[in-house]
C-alpha cells in the first residue's frame, strides 16, 4: 500500500459492517459487543528463523509456536497462531498503513511476509455468564476453561461461519470472535437467534 501518511485533517469516514446492528448487545442479553475496527496484519514466517526473529523485534513478543494459542504484545495487541508459518497480529493502537509496512520491511528481507488484513475480519467480544452457552449453540470446540483457558485460540465454525475464537479469561466468561467481514451480519443475526431463550428469560 502507499506509504504516504494520512495528510488531511478530516479523515475519510469508515464504516463497520455491524453499524446496522446497533442493538446487537441488547438482543444478545448483553453477551455480544461488536469491537471497533481493528488494525490486523497477517504475518508469514518460518519458525524458528530470521523472519520470525524480525517479527518478534517489531512486535515486542515472540510469535507463539504452540498451535491454538495467542499471546499479548506489550503494546496491548495480540498475536494469534493461525498455522505453522502463519500468524494474525491485532493491534488496536495503530493504523494499517503504519503496521503493515513496518512488519513487511522487517520480514521481507528475511523471507517472511506481512499483509494488511484489517478490513478482512470483524471482532466481536463475548462476555458474561451466557458467553459459553451461546458458543455451545453452534460451535463444536470444548470451551471449558479447564481445556480452553486464557491464551487459547481455535479456528473453527460457529454455526456456518468460519471464526477464530480466542479465550481472554480463565473463568469462561470472556472471548473474542474474529469473523470474515462478509459473514459478520450473518453471525450477528445467528447470535441474536441463539440468545432468544436468554432474552425471553430476562424479560
Amino acid at each position: 500500500m502507499a506509504d504516504a501518511a494520512p495528510s488531511s485533517t478530516v479523515p475519510l469516514p469508515r464504516t463497520h459492517p455491524l453499524d446496522v446492528r446497533p442493538d446487537l448487545t441488547e438482543q444478545t442479553a448483553g453477551a455480544v459487543v461488536a469491537r471497533p475496527l481493528t488494525t490486523a496484519v497477517q504475518v508469514r514466517a518460518e519458525l524458528p528463523g530470521p523472519a520470525a526473529d524480525a517479527a518478534a523485534r517489531v512486535l515486542g513478543v515472540a510469535l507463539p509456536a504452540r498451535p491454538g494459542t495467542w499471546v499479548a504484545t506489550p503494546g496491548g495487541g495480540r498475536v494469534v497462531w493461525l498455522g505453522p508459518d502463519e500468524w494474525l497480529v491485532l493491534d488496536p493502537t495503530t493504523t494499517p498503513w503504519d503496521l503493515e509496512p513496518r512488519l513487511r520491511e522487517a520480514l521481507a528481507p528475511a523471507g517472511g511476509a506481512a499483509v494488511d488484513v484489517s478490513a478482512q475480519r470483524v471482532v466481536l467480544e463475548l462476555s458474561g455468564p451466557l458467553a459459553r452457552d451461546l458458543l455451545a449453540a453452534g460451535c463444536a470446540v470444548d470451551t471449558h476453561p479447564s481445556v480452553f483457558p486464557a491464551g487459547r485460540a481455535a479456528q473453527t465454525l460457529l454455526a456456518q461461519a468460519g471464526v477464530v475464537l480466542l479465550a481472554l479469561s480463565d473463568d469462561g466468561q470472556r472471548y473474542e470472535l474474529l469473523v470474515r467481514s462478509s459473514f459478520a451480519r450473518y453471525l450477528a443475526d445467528w447470535l441474536v437467534d441463539a440468545a432468544t431463550e436468554h432474552r425471553a428469560r430476562r424479560a
Binding site: R14, T15, V115, F183
Partner: protein, 606 residues
C-alpha cells in the same frame, strides 16, 4: 382394510399412508462397542444387556420410555462417570416431570397377511422396494442369518441403512423360521452411525439463517438504491437497479447504454484477491498461469488464465505487480477459495522450495470498476492529484494515491472494452469512496449497474466467464486466446496437455458469437446448435449436436440480441448459418467471431 383375524374387507380412500417398521432405540454405538443386544418382548426392541467397561447406557437407549426415568438414569450414569473419573459430583436437581402417559404393551406385528396372499406387495424396505416375498426367497435359498438375508435382498442397504427396516426384517425371519427375534438377532452395526440430527427435526438453520448471506461493504447502499439481487455462491450481488416501472430488460439496456455512452459503476468487491509475496512470487505465478507473469513491471497489470493439469481453463483474472516481490492476484468471484487452495497445493506439495507466501485479501479490498467514456472525468474529479491522461496513466497500469488519509489504488482494467478504472480501497473506506465517485459522476448521470449489465458488456467484447462459457472441457485456444499461452516458458501447469492430439483437433468446440438472423430472438442459454442438411431439413434423429449457447443477451449497443456459444470447429464457420431450436421452431443464426463490439479496441482509451 380388514381385521387381522379375517372378516370383511373395506376400501378406504386416503391421501397418505403411514407405515411403521416398529421402534428400536439407537443402540448402534453400544453394539459397535461390542455390547450384546437382546430382544425385549415387552418393548418389541433390541436392547443393550448392561454396562461395558467404559460405557454406561441410560435413557431411551436402555429402553426407558418416559421422561422421569430417562432423567433419573441419565443423572445416575453421569454421577457414576464422574466418580470413576475422580471428579466431584455436584448434585443437579432433577426437574419435575408431568406424569408419564399410561404405557401399553406393544403388539408385535411383523407382517399383515395380504388378502390375496401376495407377499410381493408387502414392503419391508421402502427405499429398496424389498418385500416379504424377497425375504421368503432368501430363506428358500437356504439363508438364515439376517446378514445373509440383507445381502440377498438389499434390505437395509439404502439411505437409512436399515433404521426403518432392520428390526422388522429380524421379526419376519423369526416368524417364517418359527422362533423369536432373539434367536435371529440383528445385523452387525458398523460404524459410522449417522444419527438423525436434532437440527434436522428442529434446528435454527432456517429462514434467513438457512445459509449464510455474504454481504459486501456496500450492501446497504445497494439496498437503498433498490437493487434486485443475484445470489453468487453465498454472496448477494446487485443484478440490476430498476427505476420505477422498469423490468429487467429495460433496466439492463439502460445500464449498458450508460456504460457505453457516459459512465457506470459496479461493485466488484466479491472478486477473489490473493496477496502473493516473496522473492519467488513471479516464478510461482509463471508456473500456474499460462502466460508470463514474472516479466510484468511494477506498476503494470496483466490478464492471465490458469489451467488444470489437463489444460482446461479453471480461472482467469488480472494480476497487478505491486512491488518487485509482491503481486495482487485477482480471481473470479466463484473461484476465490478454489484458486487459493490450488496455488497452496502446488506450492506446498510440489514446489516447497519457492520462497513465496499467499494470503487471501478478498474482503480486505473493495473494488469498483468505473466504466465508460466519462470515467476519466469522474476519476480525475475524485482523485485530483492523479494525472488521468492516457500518457500518464496508460491502459493496464495502476497507481496509488491517498484520499483524505485513506490509501486508494487505481488500475486501468476494463472488462467491458470501455475506458475504465478499477478503484481498490480498504473495505473500511468502501462506502465513503463509492459515495465520492457517485457524487462526482452526477453531472454525467453516473449509473450504478449490476452483474447482468456486467455480463452483457463483457459478452459484447467476447470476454468469457469461466464456469459459464466454459465447463472444464475448454482450453484457452478453444476460447480464441492462444495469445495468452506462452510459447517461451519451459513449463507451466497444463502445458503438456496442449500437445495432446485431442486438444489439437480442428473440430474442437470454439467460443464464437451467434447473431439471430431475425434480430429479435434472445436464444435461451443452454440451447443446442444444429445444422440443416443439404435438403434444407434437419437430418434424421439422432440430430448431431454441434455445441450449445453459453451466454445470450439483448445488446443496447448492437440494437439486437446476440449470444456466445461453444461450437464444433466454430472459428472455421464464421459467416455460416446454423440453427438453434427454440420452443419447437428453428431459429437461424449467423456465426461470427466472439468480439461484437469495437473489435479494433478503439474505445478502451476513451
Amino acid at each position: 382394510m380388514a381385521a387381522r383375524d379375517g372378516g370383511a374387507v373395506d376400501d378406504v380412500a386416503c391421501d397418505l399412508l403411514l407405515v411403521s417398521g416398529g421402534w428400536n432405540p439407537a443402540v448402534h454405538l453400544y453394539s459397535q462397542a461390542r455390547g450384546r443386544l437382546a430382544f425385549d418382548t415387552s418393548l418389541g426392541a433390541f436392547l443393550p444387556t448392561g454396562r461395558l467397561d467404559d460405557l454406561l447406557v441410560a435413557g431411551a437407549a436402555a429402553g426407558a420410555q418416559d421422561l422421569a426415568t430417562c432423567l433419573r438414569q441419565g443423572g445416575a450414569a453421569a454421577a457414576t462417570a464422574l466418580v470413576e473419573l475422580g471428579l466431584d459430583v455436584v448434585p443437579v436437581p432433577v426437574p419435575s416431570t408431568p406424569p408419564a402417559p399410561p404405557a401399553t404393551a406393544p403388539d408385535l406385528v411383523w407382517t399383515v397377511p395380504d388378502v390375496d396372499g401376495d407377499t410381493s406387495r408387502q414392503f419391508v424396505d421402502l427405499q429398496r422396494d424389498a418385500t416379504v416375498a424377497d425375504v421368503q426367497r432368501a430363506l428358500g435359498a437356504g439363508l438364515r442369518s439376517p446378514e445373509h438375508v440383507k445381502r440377498y435382498t438389499t434390505i437395509g442397504t439404502a439411505h437409512d441403512q436399515g433404521k426403518t427396516s432392520g428390526v422388522v426384517t429380524s421379526g419376519i425371519i423369526a416368524e417364517l423360521l418359527g422362533g423369536g427375534p432373539d434367536d435371529v438377532g440383528t445385523t452387525t452395526f458398523r460404524p459410522p452411525y449417522t444419527p438423525v440430527a436434532f437440527a434436522t427435526l428442529a434446528g435454527r438453520d432456517r429462514g434467513q439463517l438457512f445459509d449464510p448471506v455474504r454481504t459486501t461493504a456496500l450492501h446497504d447502499w445497494h439496498v437503498q438504491a433498490g437493487a434486485v439481487w443475484e445470489d453468487v455462491g453465498q454472496w448477494k450481488r446487485p443484478r440490476y437497479y430498476p427505476l420505477a416501472g422498469e423490468d429487467v430488460e429495460t433496466a439492463v439496456l439502460r445500464e449498458c447504454a450508460a456504460a457505453r455512452t457516459s459512465v457506470g459503476i459496479l461493485d466488484g468487491s466479491t472478486l477473489g484477491k490473493i496477496d502473493v509475496q516473496g522473492p519467488d512470487a513471479g516464478e510461482l505465478l509463471d508456473r500456474l498461469y499460462t502466460n508470463l507473469m514474472s516479466s510484468l513491471a511494477v506498476g503494470k497489470v496483466r490478464y492471465g488464465v490458469m489451467c488444470g493439469a489437463d489444460g482446461m481453463v479453471i480461472d482467469d483474472g488480472t494480476v497487478l505487480r505491486v512491488a518487485e516481490d509482491r503481486f495482487m492476484v485477482m480471481t473470479t468471484t466463484g473461484g476465490a477459495a478454489k484458486v487459493l487452495d490450488w496455488m497452496e497445493e502446488w506450492h506446498q506439495t510440489e514446489w516447497p522450495e519457492l520462497r513465496v507466501h499467499l494470503v487471501s485479501v478478498t474482503e480486505q479490498w473493495s473494488a469498483f470498476p468505473v466504466v465508460g467514456p466519462r470515467s476519466r472525468d469522474v476519476i480525475g474529479a475524485v482523485f485530483g492529484d492523479v494525472d488521468v491522461s492516457n500518457d500518464a496513466f496508460g491502459f493496464m497500469t495502476w497507481q496509488d494515491t491517498v484520499l483524505d488519509g485513506a490509501p486508494v489504488r487505481l488500475a486501468r482494467i476494463s472488462f467491458s472494452g470501455e475506458l475504465a478504472w478499477e478503484v481498490h480501497v480498504s473495505s473500511w473506506h468502501a462506502v465513503a469512496v463509492w459515495e465520492r465517485l457517485v457524487e462526482a459522476g452526477r453531472p454525467y448521470g453516473i449509473t450504478p449497474y449490476g452483474t447482468e449489465t456486467m455480463h452483457v458488456l463483457r459478452a459484447e467484447k467476447g470476454y468469457p466467464i469461466i464456469g459459464q462459457d466454459t465447463d472444464g472441457t475448454v482450453t484457452p485456444q478453444d476460447l480464441g486466446m492462444a495469445w495468452v499461452v506462452s510459447k517461451k516458458k519451459p513449463d507451466f501447469v497444463g502445458k503438456r496437455s496442449f500437445a495432446r492430439a485431442d486438444n489439437q483437433r480442428e473440430d474442437r468446440k470454439h467460443l464464437v458469437g451467434l447473431l439471430p438472423v431475425d434480430r429479435a430472438t434472445v436464444l435461451p442459454e443452454g440451447s443446442q446448435v444444429v445444422e440443416l442438411g443439404e435438403s434444407g431439413e434437419l437430418p434424421p434423429p439422432p440430430v448431431p449436436m454441434l455445441g450449445h449457447v453459453t451466454s445470450s443477451y439483448r445488446s443496447a449497443h448492437l440494437e439486437r440480441p446476440f449470444a456466445l456459444a461453444l461450437l464444433k470447429g466454430g472459428r472455421a464457420r464464421a459467416g455460416q448459418l446454423v440453427h438453434v431450436p427454440v420452443k419447437g421452431r428453428l431459429v437461424a443464426v449467423e456465426v461470427t467471431g466472439p468480439v461484437l463490439v469495437d473489435p479494433e479496441g478503439a474505445r478502451r482509451d476513451g
